[in-house]
């Protein structure tokens, strides 16, 4: 493999990886824009999406092997199940953990989400145990060859699903009344209430939508990598880095941030060593955070207060 081919290969893997980060980052941005909360339980949604889909797809033993489940659903049905259940989990998280603490500051809310992440991780450990599991690839067949690089069919799925989801989200936010109302809440919650928009319901919707999008990320990666109960934290942090790089409030920024981070990781893993790839993304996080997090939190805290969340 020539260097040129290698570089192309890194780029392709980077874009695939970056698509996943982009979806998680979109989840972060959706919640942040409407509520001012940075939800560090975001990565758990990817874990739950994947495990829920796996559970109904194949023979599984839950709760330390005490419960056997053998539903044998089709792959599309399983994926849909994973997304829907995770969306409900997002709604539940808002109702139980966020709405009950609605008078707390944005910073307290963020810490609540970290607590929620621990609870969700613990529950995942209880239900699914420590064994890694995965789904089969969505379509079988030999990988595609582009110049000298290899693109697996699953990578095409990952990038394709991300692209379709982006288009759907774009249409939702720009061409539906509910989407516009969500944007109105993120621009000016006080004025949104004067239009008759129920900002609490919009926040609930944001949590559900965000969980669903991130669940998709979890489901499309499990054919390529194993899912374990404890992957949520890393996924959260990667998605957070991507969202921060993208400016935290822009969906387009989140996608660009995700792709940049994915490509950066792929190149550093390929050219330096795969051991460095996490370090690189956290160095990026550190630099961006040092530069801007203070202003970020203050600005949104005021918005959240106006919304009466």
């Amino acid at each position: 493999m020539s260097l040129q081919d290698q570089l192309l290969q890194f780029l392709l893997s980077g874009i695939t990886l970056g698509s996943i980060y982009a979806l998680i980052a979109l989840g972060f941005v959706t919640i942040y824009n409407v509520t001012g909360i940075i939800n560090f339980a975001q990565g758990e949604f990817a874990v739950y999406g994947a495990f829920m889909a796996i559970t109904v797809f194949q023979e599984s033993r839950l709760l330390s092997g005490n419960v056997a489940v053998n539903l044998g659903w089709s792959l599309p049905a399983s994926a849909l199940f994973g997304v829907v259940i995770t969306a409900l989990l997002g709604l539940l998280l808002y109702r139980l953990a966020i709405q009950t603490a609605r008078h707390a500051s944005a910073l307290s809310m963020i810490i609540i989400t970290i607590g929620a992440a621990f609870v969700l991780r613990g529950a995942a450990l209880l239900v699914w145990g420590t064994d890694p599991s995965r789904l089969p690839v969505f379509t079988k067949g030999s990988p595609f060859k582009i110049a000298g690089a290899i693109l697996t069919r699953q990578s095409v799925w990952v990038v394709g699903v991300t692209a379709v989801l982006l288009v759907l989200l774009y249409l939702f936010f720009n061409h539906t009344l509910t989407g516009k109302a969500l944007r109105a809440c993120s621009i000016n919650p006080g004025a949104a209430r004067l239009m008759g928009i129920n900002t609490k319901r919009m926040a609930l919707l944001a949590f559900g939508l965000s969980a669903a999008v991130t669940a998709v990320a979890g489901i499309v990666i499990v054919p390529s990598t194993f899912m374990t109960y404890d992957r949520g934290l890393t996924l959260s942090l990667k998605g957070f880095v991507a969202a921060i790089v993208g400016g935290m409030s822009s969906p387009v920024g989140a996608v660009v941030g995700g792709l940049l981070l994915g490509v950066l990781e792929a190149f550093s893993a390929g050219l330096l060593s795969s051991g460095y790839k996490d370090a690189i993304s956290f160095i990026v996080l550190f630099i961006v955070l040092a530069a801007r997090i203070g202003g970020l939190l203050r600005g949104r805290a005021i918005v959240a207060e106006q919304a009466g969340l």
Binding site: L177, I187, A192, L194, M195, G196, I197, T199
Partner: protein
């Protein structure tokens, strides 16, 4: 139409309104004048449910709306055009108007809302011209027109306006006030908050003077303009302003 009975409103421990009572009859323009910080905006926010009063009662056509959330009160027929316009800057002019009719669209009244957008555009032709532009790119006067148009999209029985003349050139102020007179002729009831007291009282039927959270004077608008106490209140306003700018 709108009855406010001895409401007291607080921000934390700070009392912003002290047992304020006020009444707006159907088809009237009523002005609320007073100094910066007298509680004018708080009063509107209490009526619209953004800052509900702790004590007292607010009735719309005899029905209590005191403790309803803001998003319900809009549906009952009270629409507020907030201070500093607060249009959704990153949305198009048309989408701002669409969101003004949010509750009606939720109830499936799509054609009626589309017709109302046309009517608002007739009232403010500049909005039609700029309907696909982002609201944030409009001038101050245009944003004020958009904010009023957006407020009208809810088909309010009572329109609350908070300082519509703020930061506008005198000619534009005239234009905006003329629009309010037209709205009254079409049957909309208006509660107007203004620092530009003379201009507001000139188009009003009645007025109230608010001072540090209490109504100190009320009466017919023409009487208030010539009233000596109102002149004193104006002087008071100047003094207040001086004090505020000093610290």
């Amino acid at each position: 139409m709108l009855e406010i009975k001895a409401i007291s409103t607080f921000y934390g421990h700070i009392q912003a309104l002290k047992e304020v009572s006020l009444e707006v009859q159907g088809g009237e323009i009523v002005s609320l004048v007073g100094a910066n910080g007298a509680g004018k905006t708080t009063l509107l926010n209490s009526v619209s449910g953004i800052v509900p009063p702790r004590r007292g009662e607010i009735l719309l056509n005899g029905q209590a709306i005191t403790h309803l959330p803001a998003e319900k009160i809009v549906g009952m027929g009270i629409s507020q055009v907030p201070e500093r316009r607060q249009v959704f800057g990153e949305l198009s002019v048309r989408d701002n108007l669409v969101l003004g009719g949010y509750l009606r669209l939720r109830r499936g009244k799509k054609t009626a809302v589309t017709q109302d957008i046309e009517r608002v555009c007739e009232m403010f032709p500049i909005l039609k011209e700029r309907q696909n532009q982002l609201a944030g790119t409009l001038s101050g006067g245009e944003q004020q027109m958009l904010a009023i148009g957006r407020g009208l999209m809810a088909q309010p029985k009572v329109l609350l306006l908070d300082e519509p003349s703020l930061g506008l050139a005198p000619l534009l102020v005239r234009e905006i006030l003329d629009v309010l007179v037209n709205l009254r002729e079409m049957g909309t009831t208006i509660l107007l908050v203004e620092q530009n007291a003379r201009a507001a009282l000139e188009i009003s039927d009645r007025g109230y003077v608010l001072e540090t959270g209490s109504v100190v004077l009320s009466g017919k608008a023409q009487e208030l303009i010539t009233n000596e106490d109102v002149q004193k209140a104006y002087l008071g306003r100047v003094n207040h302003k001086r004090l505020e700018t000093r610290d």
